[in-house]
Subunit: 346 residues, 2 copies
């Protein structure tokens, strides 16, 4: 009898090819906005590098999500799995066919993690740990791309944050993301995974409905007016944000995966190159794309709770390391708004 | 019927005086070297400030430790409790009479946390979380002093580390300590505790036997020769360390407790002001105190595993914030060795 490991692989076979030549990918938060978009991009692309840098065909994608959402991608390679990372049976199901690569996007967002501390700790910290442990116990260390956030920064900050600025989060979400980065770093150092963590800017423009993120308004003040709906802006118009479009975020998640481990070295987290825009800049872009009537649909009504969180995030970065690693950025806020309108507004 | 909270206190009574006027103190790692010494100092002192800054008599000290060790302090105020922080029954027992202040010293040390990842995570991360949760669920937020470590630093470091240097730990112990700091910070920000974390230098000279800390030799090369025993130094003589004597460490743990919350603000961790000394400096001090025969008892035999960990730690700091906060430092390495000899060598 051949002994098998926890995921049905024979122990001692430290090869990413143990499951055959085709890549098995796990996307957590796979029903979320970025998750769906990433899965579409993976299906379209059809190939991904393995941990040895060899380009391989994608054989299967597990889209894991705690929310049961409509299947956005109908593709025989995609298997939807509904459940919580903290549930051992869900982890087992997610890893049962082997996992070569993980995109870990699942999270309780900033506003929700601040409002419900236990929920944030359970999902953002315990869920991440359960996932990392499952990776560690697989046949071979998977590549893992972790969606972190600029919310790891807070407190007294320089005008321009650079790669040497110390993260000092002032929200539970930021603390949980930074702990996730540290764990991704240590699991990588120990050879349990080959991880990389991307500090994502605020993603605009998200389609669909508002969510519990403190930054939700940043999409709402563009999306709602372009759909002919009034919107409320809960922060002052001078408030600046560090932004990235959804398509650039997906490009960067994929690029992070394809970057060789040697390029990362010991430091597995990076500030992505975003775009600085004030609410005023965003409304000007809205006007340029949707006309004056669209821009007039935005009313200011400051929400102190949201304003306090958002103004604590840095809005200007020198993302030198990300540039060296070849990450991309959006050209300007007008093109971001225009791309959204082209894709989502009839 | 009056509803009571988890520790038998009535909810809604947010007063540190709910347990009477006398302070209840919990020391984790209470059977350890620093723990015993701290408990002796607390008993001698007899008083401590509460979270409102009011000086109160010490009514009881719970010395919690996973190791069952001889009771070093025989005092009616001290209750020894044997068990693990991860054990809910132990936590309940530790908090049953209420806790106004916590000194959290318990940890799996650096070498052991590197050798046994699961053990380090369980004690250093899960244990700290269990303790913080118990504090959060008590009647009033306790003051909590957390023993962190300069092992939070690693990787490419400047010649002199200052308060703006980003911690980038390169050991599992350092990662776990930094996560502990982040949790102490977030629990403090949320008002669950009034925490402060001290990044302790390597403590020399520890009496007794070697332990699994990678820095254990730093005490051994002084302690063993002064006792007429040969010692092996596993790092090169040019290796510099950032050091603090046990008595200064205890002074600083107590000082951290007595510093008002306002002095800490949002940043709850601090680099303590240590002393830079090379192994050569330490052996010169040994010679000055114990004579040439003592110094001749040290033999060099480099252990790559230990050397790699130790040389990754910073040895020079500008501890400006600690000086502003009023923390103290040792005068020089000779006086540190002399104080040890006076106390421990007949």
């Amino acid at each position: 009898m051949i002994e098998t490991g926890p995921h049905g692989c024979r122990p001692g076979i430290a090869s990413t090819n143990v499951h055959g030549q085709r890549m098995k990918i796990l996307v957590t938060g796979g029903s979320g906005f970025l998750g769906q978009r990433l899965i579409r991009a993976l299906c379209f692309r059809g190939r991904l590098q393995d941990a040895d840098g060899v380009d391989r065909e994608i054989g299967g994608i597990v889209a894991l999500d705690a929310m049961s959402a409509p299947k956005a991608v109908s593709d025989p390679r995609v298997r939807y799995l509904h459940g919580d990372l903290g549930d051992a049976a869900v982890i087992t199901a997610a890893f049962e066919s082997g996992v070569d690569s993980v995109f870990h996007l699942a999270a309780v967002v900033s506003g929700a993690a601040e409002a419900d501390f236990d929920l944030g700790m359970r999902v953002n910290l315990d869920g991440t740990r359960a996932l990392l442990e499952a990776c560690r116990r697989g046949c071979a260390p998977p590549r893992l791309v972790f969606a972190s956030s600029v919310a790891v920064y807070g407190g007294a900050l320089p005008d321009v944050v650079n790669d040497a600025t110390t993260p000092a989060p002032q929200s539970s979400y930021g603390v949980q993301k930074l702990i996730g980065e540290l764990l991704v770093g240590d699991y990588s150092r120990r050879g349990y995974i080959d991880g990389r963590a991307l500090r994502l800017p605020t993603i605009v423009v998200r389609p669909g409905r508002p969510n519990a993120a403190a930054s939700s308004f940043a999409s709402g003040i563009i999306r709602e007016p372009l759909a002919g709906v009034d919107a409320i802006c809960p922060v002052a118009e001078g408030t600046s944000l560090w932004l990235m479009s959804p398509s650039t975020a997906i490009d960067n998640l994929l690029h992070a995966h394809e970057t060789p481990a040697a390029a990362w070295g010991a430091m597995r987290a990076v500030n992505l190159p975003g775009l600085t825009a004030s609410v005023r800049d965003m409304l000007d872009a809205l006007k340029a794309v949707g006309g004056a009537p669209a821009a007039d649909r935005v009313r200011f009504e400051v929400d102190e709770r949201i304003a306090r969180i958002v103004t604590g995030w840095p809005a200007r970065f020198d993302a030198a390391r990300a540039r060296e690693l070849g990450f991309s950025r959006d050209a300007d806020i007008v093109s971001v708004v225009r791309a959204y309108a082209k894709e989502h507004v009839r």
